[in-house]
């Protein structure tokens, strides 16, 4: 277990480049954890939260002092803060590499970056970090830039004993998907973007089983000709009482 580092008071959310002016219109609500996918097609992403997130407009200030519109999707459950911030860079002339690099640099200024690695989600390339805050918090961070928007995901496990919930922060990070025009191949099939097969997932496979029962045989048309296929149901197990 990592020892908590002494030092500065912890801020609830790590500021990426400069000051995040959060306008929280609703309080964060903590209920029993039940991870669900939350899809935001207009924003081009989907992510899992353990509790319903609060979506609020906000402002992001770049290192050059420019204020940009931002939407913040946030939740708190137990001792983990889950935040997805989407910043609209369409009004400024910034390239993806610079924005990602500056964002990553800001995390290094506010904590100790223990892991920094190139990452790919669907057809978008960015960076994933692990950051140890001076206050003992542990954060799983994803930084991506797509369609002139900065996508900044932070799953922050709070002290004391931040490592205890570190798995939840990582799960949040691992759940990020890009959908719609951002999606391309992979991801949630029905939102996997445009293209001949919806970005890698054959929509005819889903359509072929609509109205069918598990075990029904259907014929699926593929580029290589028709094939027989069997429909199955995939069910999430109910959570029995412990």
């Amino acid at each position: 277990m990592r020892a908590a580092a002494p030092g500065m008071p912890r801020s609830s959310i790590k500021a990426p480049l400069a000051t995040l002016t959060a306008v929280c219109l609703m309080p964060l609500v903590a209920v029993a954890q039940q991870w669900k996918v939350y899809e935001y097609p207009d924003a081009g992403f989907a992510v899992q939260f353990p509790v319903p997130p609060v979506v609020a407009p906000s402002t992001f200030r770049t290192s050059a002092g420019v204020s940009l519109p931002m939407t913040r999707y946030a939740a708190r459950e137990d001792r983990v803060l889950y935040t997805m911030s989407v910043v609209d860079f369409s009004g400024v002339n910034e390239d993806a590499t610079s924005v990602i690099a500056e964002t990553e640099k800001s995390f290094g200024a506010s904590g100790r970056v223990t892991v920094a690695i190139d990452a790919r989600i669907n057809r978008q390339f960015g960076r994933e970090l692990s950051v140890n805050g001076a206050d003992g918090a542990r954060s799983a961070v994803a930084i991506f830039f797509a369609s002139k928007h900065l996508y900044l995901l932070v799953g922050e496990s709070l002290p004391p004993n931040a490592i205890a919930r570190s798995g939840d922060a990582i799960r949040f990070q691992e759940s990020l998907q890009f959908i719609g025009p951002n999606g391309g191949f992979g991801g949630f099939g029905r939102f996997a973007g445009r293209g001949r097969f919806g970005g890698g997932f054959n929509p005819r496979a889903l359509a072929a089983c609509q109205g069918k029962a598990a075990g029904d045989t259907v014929q699926l048309d593929t580029p290589r000709g028709p094939v027989q296929a069997t429909c199955v149901l995939v069910a999430r197990p109910n959570r029995p009482p412990l």
Binding site: N122, I170, G189
Partner: protein, 128 residues
Amino acid sequence: MKRFALARSLTLSLVPLATTALAHHSFAMFDRSQTERIAGTVKEFELINPHGWLRIMVADASGAENEWSVELGGAGQLERFGWTPDTVHPGDKVIVQIHPLRDGSYGGQLISVTLPSGQVLGQRPGRG
């Protein structure tokens, strides 16, 4: 001549295919050069897309239990290797082999799981 003239059964799911999960993201946060073997008690098992999750309670050296989050493949992928929603249940004692997280967080990417029956299930051919 059609290459696929012979009838071949495919498994379709009524939810997005897990094959997409194989290309969903790069698993960059897992150290695939390392493996760890941990024993614990199942808290929750989710057979979902794009990734399933196995949450297990693992005792540390002091005896305190910590929750680990183990990432699995998608539902369709797992089903091909013998997983079902009833493969594990809360309370089951299991041993998992994982690629650990690079930062030491409590989690990893599943390689295989040894069930209470002794059966070993994985995510790749040749593992259960």
